[in-house]
C-alpha cells in the first residue's frame, strides 16, 4: 500500500522533471531538473530494496556528473539559451528517433518476460563484490581499462595545443 503510493510519488517526480528538462530554456535549471530526476530514480531503487544501486546512483550521477555539469555550465554565458531551441528539421528527426525508441520500449514492457519473484539478499554489497570479482571479472576489468583510456584522453584533449616545452620565443 504505502510502497505503491511512494512509487507513484517517485514516478511523478521523474516524469515532471523529465518534461521540465525539455521545456526549460535555462541551462542551469535543466541541470537541476536532471538532478531531481536522477534522485527520483535513486528513490525507486531504494524502494526496490537495491540500496547499493541507489546509493551508487546518487554518488556517481548526482554527486559526480551533476557537479561537473553545473561546473561546466556555469562557465557558459547566459545568452546561450536562445541557441538551444531546435530548428524545424531537427524537430522532425527528433520525433522519428524518439518515436522508434518509445515503440521499442513499450513493446519490451508489454511483451518482455518478467521474472516473477526476484531473490532478495540482505547482504547486497557482499554479493555484488563477489560477483564482480568472480563471474564478471572480465567485463569489470574491461570497464576499468575503458575508464582509464577516457581519463588519459581527457587529459590529452585538455592540455595546451602547442607544446611550449623546448620552443624558444
Amino acid at each position: 500500500m504505502i510502497e505503491t503510493i511512494l512509487f507513484y510519488i517517485f514516478a511523478m517526480i521523474m516524469v515532471v522533471s523529465g518534461l521540465a528538462i525539455l521545456v526549460s530554456t535555462n541551462i542551469v535549471r535543466m541541470a537541476y531538473w536532471l538532478i531531481g530526476m536522477l534522485l527520483a530514480v535513486a528513490g525507486i531503487y531504494f524502494l526496490l530494496g537495491a540500496y547499493f544501486l541507489g546509493v551508487v546512483q546518487i554518488i556517481v550521477y548526482v554527486g559526480g556528473v551533476a557537479v561537473l555539469v553545473v561546473f561546466g555550465v556555469m562557465l557558459t554565458s547566459r545568452q546561450l539559451a536562445s541557441q538551444l531551441l531546435p530548428r524545424a528539421w531537427e524537430v522532425v528527426w527528433l520525433i522519428c528517433v524518439t518515436g522508434i525508441f518509445l515503440a521499442g520500449l513499450v513493446r519490451m514492457i508489454l511483451k518482455g518476460p518478467w521474472a516473477g519473484n526476484v531473490k532478495q539478499s540482505p547482504q547486497t554489497v557482499a554479493e555484488i563484490g563477489r560477483s564482480l570479482l568472480g563471474n564478471f571479472i572480465g567485463p569489470f576489468e574491461l570497464a576499468s581499462v575503458l575508464l582509464l583510456v577516457v581519463l588519459l584522453g581527457a587529459a590529452y584533449l585538455a592540455r595546451p595545443r602547442v607544446p611550449t616545452l623546448g620552443i624558444k620565443k
Partner: protein
C-alpha cells in the same frame, strides 16, 4: 532636499508570531535561567543520561514501527539542532579564547551559553532579501538543498549498537552520498545569487570538493578492507573491547588513514584552512554573500550539521564509535557523542590556528601529496591484510601507546592552559564581566 523614506511594512505571519512568543518566553524564563544556570547545565546532563536510558528501555522495543519512527525522527532533528547550536556557540568561544578574547559572555549568564538562540531569534526577525537580478526560484531553493541531505545523513549514523534509525549494509556510502548532494546546494546558491563574489565561492567549492572526494574515499577504503563491510554498525561492532581494539591502532596504514581522512573531511565541510568558498578577506562572504535572515541560518546550520556528520564517520570508522576505551561495560551513545564533539572541537581548533591557503595550493596539496599518499596507504594496507597478521599484537600496543601519549600530551597542554587561564585575558576585560 528629498530624503528616501523606507516604506513601513507591518510584518505578519509566522515569523512575527515566533518573535512575539520568543519575547514573552524570554521575559519570563530569562531571569529564572540566569539565576539557575548551573542547575540547568547539570540538569541537561542528567536529562541526557535519563533520555539515553529511557530510549533504550522503552522506545527501541516498540512494536508499532510508526510510533518508534516518529519518536526517533523527532529526537534526531532535536539532536542536529542542538549540535548546531552548541557548535556555533562553541566556535565563537574557541575563536575568542585562541585570540585572547572571551567571546560571547552576556547572553544567558554563564559564558553566554544562550548566544546561538539569541542569534537565531535575531535572524528570524531579519528581512528576507532577494536580489532583483537573482534567479528567484533557484535562490530560494538552494538553502534547502544544502540543509536537507545533511539531516538525511543522520538516518544511517549509529549512535550505539542498536541506536540507529535504519541499519543498512551500505550506510557508509549513504552518508558520503548525502554529503555529496550538500555541495549542490552551495553551488546553486552561488550561481543563483548572480553576484561575482558568490559565483567565485561556488566555483571554488565545486573545484575543491570534486578533488578532495577522491582522497576521502580512498582513505575510508582502508578501514573498509580491514573490517570487510561498509555497514557502520558492523564496523562499530568490530572494535569493541578497549582502546587498543579501535581500528586506528590495528595497523600503521590505518593510523595514517585517519589523518588523511580528517584532512579531506575538513575540505569537504569547507572548514579552514580549506574555507575558500567563503573567504571573507577576498570574497565578502563567498557563496552566501547575498543571503540574509533565515536562509543564511540554514547554510550555517548545514555546515555545523555536516561537521558533526564527518566527525561521526571518523569516530565510528577509526575511533571505536560508541565503544568505551576501557571495557564494554560503559559503552553507549554518550561515548559516541563525546568523541564526535571532540573531533568537532578539533576542527574549530584547526580553523582558528591555521591561515587560509590559496586555491592553487589547495589543488596542489590534494593532487600532488594527499592523493599519492592515500594510494600508498591503500596498497600498503592490502599487503598488510595478507602478511601482517602476525604482528597484530605488537602494532596494537605500539600504536595504541602512541595514541595514549598523544592524549596525554593533549591533556597536559589543556591543563597548562587551564592553570594559566588568567594570562589569556587582560585584567581590563575581566573587570567588566558580569559578576566581577
Amino acid at each position: 532636499m528629498q530624503t528616501f523614506e523606507r516604506p513601513k511594512i507591518e510584518y505578519t505571519g509566522i515569523s512575527k508570531t515566533i518573535a512575539e512568543i520568543a519575547v514573552v518566553v524570554a521575559k519570563i524564563a530569562g531571569p529564572i535561567l540566569r539565576r539557575l544556570a548551573w542547575f540547568v547545565f547539570f540538569g541537561v546532563i542528567i536529562f541526557g543520561c535519563a533520555f539515553v536510558w529511557a530510549v533504550g528501555r522503552f522506545v527501541n522495543p516498540l512494536v508499532p514501527w510508526i510510533v518508534r519512527d516518529i519518536i526517533v525522527v523527532a529526537g534526531g532533528l532535536g539532536f542536529v539542532s542542538l549540535v548546531a547550536m552548541v557548535g556555533i556557540w562553541g566556535e565563537r568561544k574557541v575563536s575568542g579564547h585562541i585570540q585572547s578574547r572571551l567571546g560571547p559572555m552576556r547572553t544567558g549568564g554563564w559564558h553566554g551559553w544562550l548566544q546561538s538562540l539569541a542569534d537565531g531569534l535575531k535572524f528570524v526577525q531579519k528581512e528576507d532579501l532577494i536580489p532583483a537580478s537573482a534567479d528567484q526560484p533557484l535562490f530560494r531553493l538552494a538553502p534547502y538543498i544544502a540543509l536537507v541531505p545533511v539531516i538525511c545523513a543522520y538516518v544511517v549514523i549509529p549512535f550505539g549498537a542498536s541506536w540507529v534509525f535504519r541499519d543498512r549494509d551500505v550506510s557508509l556510502l549513504f552518508v558520503l552520498a548525502m554529503l555529496g548532494i550538500e555541495v549542490l546546494g552551495v553551488i546553486l546558491g552561488g550561481w543563483a545569487s548572480n553576484s561575482k563574489w558568490s559565483l567565485y565561492g561556488a566555483m571554488r567549492e565545486a573545484c575543491q570538493l570534486v578533488s578532495y572526494e577522491i582522497p576521502m574515499g580512498l582513505s575510508l577504503l582502508v578501514p573498509v578492507m580491514a573490517v570487510g563491510s561498509i555497514s557502520l554498525v558492523q564496523m562499530g561492532k568490530a572494535q569493541s573491547g578497549g582502546w587498543f581494539n579501535w581500528l586506528m591502532f590495528q595497523n600503521p596504514f590505518l593510523f595514517f588513514a585517519f589523518f588523511t581522512y580528517y584532512i579531506a573531511s575538513l575540505a569537504s565541510c569547507k572548514r579552514a584552512p580549506f574555507d575558500l568558498p567563503e573567504g571573507e578577506s577576498e570574497l565578502v562572504a563567498g557563496f552566501h554573500t547575498e543571503y540574509s535572515g533565515f536562509r543564511f541560518v540554514m547554510f550555517f546550520f548545514a555546515e555545523y550539521a555536516a561537521m558533526f556528520a564527518v566527525s561521526a564517520i571518523a569516530t565510528i570508522v577509526f575511533l571505536g564509535g560508541w565503544n568505551s576505551p576501557v571495557g564494554d561495560a560503559t559503552s553507549g551513545p554518550l561515548w559516541f557523542v563525546a568523541k564526535g564533539m571532540f573531533l568537532v572541537w578539533v576542527q574549530m581548533w584547526i580553523r582558528w590556528t591555521l591561515p587560509r591557503i590559496r586555491i592553487d595550493q589547495v589543488m596542489h596539496a590534494c593532487v600532488k601529496y594527499l592523493l599519492p599518499f592515500t594510494m600508498i596507504l591503500f596498497v600498503g594496507s592490502s599487503v598488510w591484510q595478507l602478511y601482517g597478521s602476525q604482528f597484530i599484537f605488537y602494532t596494537r600496543f605500539i600504536l595504541g601507546g602512541l595514541g595514549l601519549v598523544m592524549v596525554g600530551l593533549f591533556l597536559a597542554g589543556a591543563g597548562y592552559g587551564y592553570v594559566n587561564r588568567g594570562r589569556l585575558v587582560g585584567r581590563l576585560a575581566r573587570k567588566h564581566l558580569p559578576g566581577a
